[in-house]
């Protein structure tokens, strides 16, 4: 398991990429749902 997260020593590069990517996409959805709620009212 820890071997998987170590990514052969490239953990920062691999998880830094995936983390920021999915954080960005999740944030976009959150802001969009917030905007949807605001425009409905």
């Amino acid at each position: 398991m820890s071997e998987f997260f170590a990514m052969g020593g490239y953990a920062w590069y691999v998880w830094g990429s995936y983390g920021v990517t999915f954080a960005c996409l999740a944030l976009e959805v959150v802001f969009l749902l917030k905007r949807t709620g605001e425009t409905k009212a």
């Binding site: 990514m7 052969g8 490239y10 590069y13 691999v14 990429s17 996409l25 949807t36 425009t39």
Partner: protein
């Protein structure tokens, strides 16, 4: 079936909601499958070790950044030529998502560049033209935000979007036209793929996942724009 029926924002509104829901489900399923293939099925790369696994988001995000720009410019041009309200709204709805994928392509590329090239950034043709693409998206958004009247904002944004299209082939062919650190195309219609089948499969599944994600969020956003403008 009369396709022009859906050219009106009011009649398109419910359809956009249905498309958004269907595409969101598809995007979520494909992301799970794509990540499973990317991390558990695809083998470790002989040269790059595990660092290459960034490919499963880097390449799809870079494709999306260019593809969304072309689609955005297409809708903007249509809105400019025929004065169709919904076309311009689609262009505005696509821009933030396109900018986001451009940022993701640059960010993941940077984190991939460090272990493979030894640097996070280099003023190379591919990287520089992709950065210009980000500035084009941001310029489009800023220009539209700066103009009060939505119809005038649509026309000004459309001009910028159309002129900026010239940058897309520059990005695509930059690796052939100039000496660059960035590798050439990994997948092309003219030659067989230069990678293992499972690696290619993971990349294509993630590309479809991003594709459906982009459709889902742009449909949600166009619904917001329709509500805001037509209220």
């Amino acid at each position: 079936m009369n396709w022009f029926w859906y050219a009106s924002p009011q009649t398109f509104f419910p359809l956009a909601g249905t498309i958004a829901r269907a595409c969101a489900v598809l995007a979520a399923l494909l992301t799970v499958v794509g990540l499973y293939i990317g991390f558990f099925v695809a083998p470790t790369d002989a040269q790059q070790g595990e660092a290459y696994r960034i490919i499963f988001i880097h390449v799809p995000a870079a494709w999306m950044s260019m593809f969304i720009y072309v689609v955005m410019a297409f809708w903007a041009a249509l809105g400019l030529a025929f004065n169709t309200r919904l076309s311009s709204m689609m262009a505005s709805a696509l821009a933030p998502t396109g900018a986001l994928f451009t940022f993701i392509a640059l960010w993941t590329g940077s984190l991939w560049g460090k272990p493979t090239w030894g640097t996070y950034w280099v003023w190379d043709a591919r990287l520089t033209s992709e950065l210009i693409l980000l500035f084009l998206y941001l310029g489009f958004l800023a220009l539209q935000a700066a103009i009060e009247d939505p119809r005038r904002a649509d026309r000004a944004g459309a001009l910028l979007a159309i002129v900026g299209v010239v940058n897309v082939p520059i990005i695509y062919y930059s690796v052939q036209w100039w000496n660059t650190l960035h590798q050439g195309a990994s997948v092309s219609l003219k030659s067989s793929p230069k990678m293992a089948a499972t690696m290619l499969a993971g990349m294509l599944v993630m590309a479809f996942a991003f594709w459906f994600y982009a459709i889902a969020v742009s449909m949600l956003r166009v619904r917001c724009i329709i509500r805001e403008r037509e209220a």
